[in-house]
Amino acid sequence: MAMLLGKKVGMTQIYDESGQMTPVTVLLAGPCTILQVKTTQTDGYCAVQLGFEDVKPSRVKKPEEGHAKKSGTTVKRFVREWRFPQLPEETYKPGSQLDVKIFSGVQYVDVSGVSKGKGFAGVMKRHGFGGMPASHGTERKHRTSGSLSGHGSDRGHGGNLKKGKRMAGHMGMDRVTSRNHKLIWIDEANNLLAVKGAVPGPAGGYVEIRTAKTKK
């Protein structure tokens, strides 16, 4: 297992020797500082708290500063935990740094980020509904969901809709994980990772990069 925090730089495409083109997302990954090591004795679970990218000193809040001081580092902008079932204690120390080297040998990664905001979206865009016919007497109802409930589907709900009925509403700005990106390239000099395909969020958005959970 390996995990790093990073930033989406953007997308491009690369060719291999046979001329096969691969679309890749470039991620600036790390170096991440370990801000805290949590153990079962002290916190009830095992984790390593990672921090990525410095904050301008004038914008730092006092409690954050105190927290960072404990590990002898500076305040970080993007902080996330890397959970373990059991902590391999010697390897991770507060104040030490992790960089893209921990991904060497890894074939596939999962990438989590906050997706691009889509605003108030209708059911066709938000949930992939089919909409209504374009013609045959349809008036002003082309992109609606149709009827919301029927006797069979809402049985036992006392005339109300079932909770969680999919409707129009705010879309995007959610935490999204896209899985099993092939790790194409690791650039140790620039702390870059190139992964196949698109990852959630805008260019410049913060992402978590983990070894793939399912695909090995």
Binding site: I14, E17, W185
Partner: protein, 122 residues
């Protein structure tokens, strides 16, 4: 900064030198093709009617007439399968996309010759 980082990845497969050619040029495109386990170089020659995309994404379209039928192929500029591009003749054109050639046949397909440095020697 963003540009530099993307460059770092692209430089892996970016071509160092790309022959200079323009819209309206008649070119020979030397492309590597695999055939029954063997690779050989095939030449496709015609008029460059479009270049689109930026950087690593750049593509160009070459049109030629094969037995009275127009044939167009679009190539990725940076693909390693495009071994060479040789501009042979420059054409006098007034736009960046020569899609109007698709509606033409016979004599009117030909572009008037233009003298240009990059095709002067050939």
């Amino acid at each position: 900064m963003k540009k530099d980082l993307i460059d770092a990845v692209e430089n892996k497969s970016r071509k160092k030198e790309i022959p200079y050619f323009e819209i309206g040029d008649t070119v020979d495109v030397h492309c590597r093709i695999e055939e029954g386990g063997k690779t050989r170089v095939q030449v496709f020659s015609g008029i460059v009617i479009a270049r689109k995309g930026r950087g690593m994404n750049e593509m160009f379209t070459v049109r030629r007439i094969v037995s009275d039928e127009g044939v167009e192929r679009t190539f990725p500029l940076h693909s390693p399968n495009i071994v060479d591009i040789k501009p042979l003749r420059s054409g006098k054109v007034r736009r960046a996309k020569l899609y109007y050639l698709r509606e033409r046949s016979g004599k009117s397909v030909r572009l008037p010759k233009r003298h240009s440095k990059h095709t002067a020697t050939t």
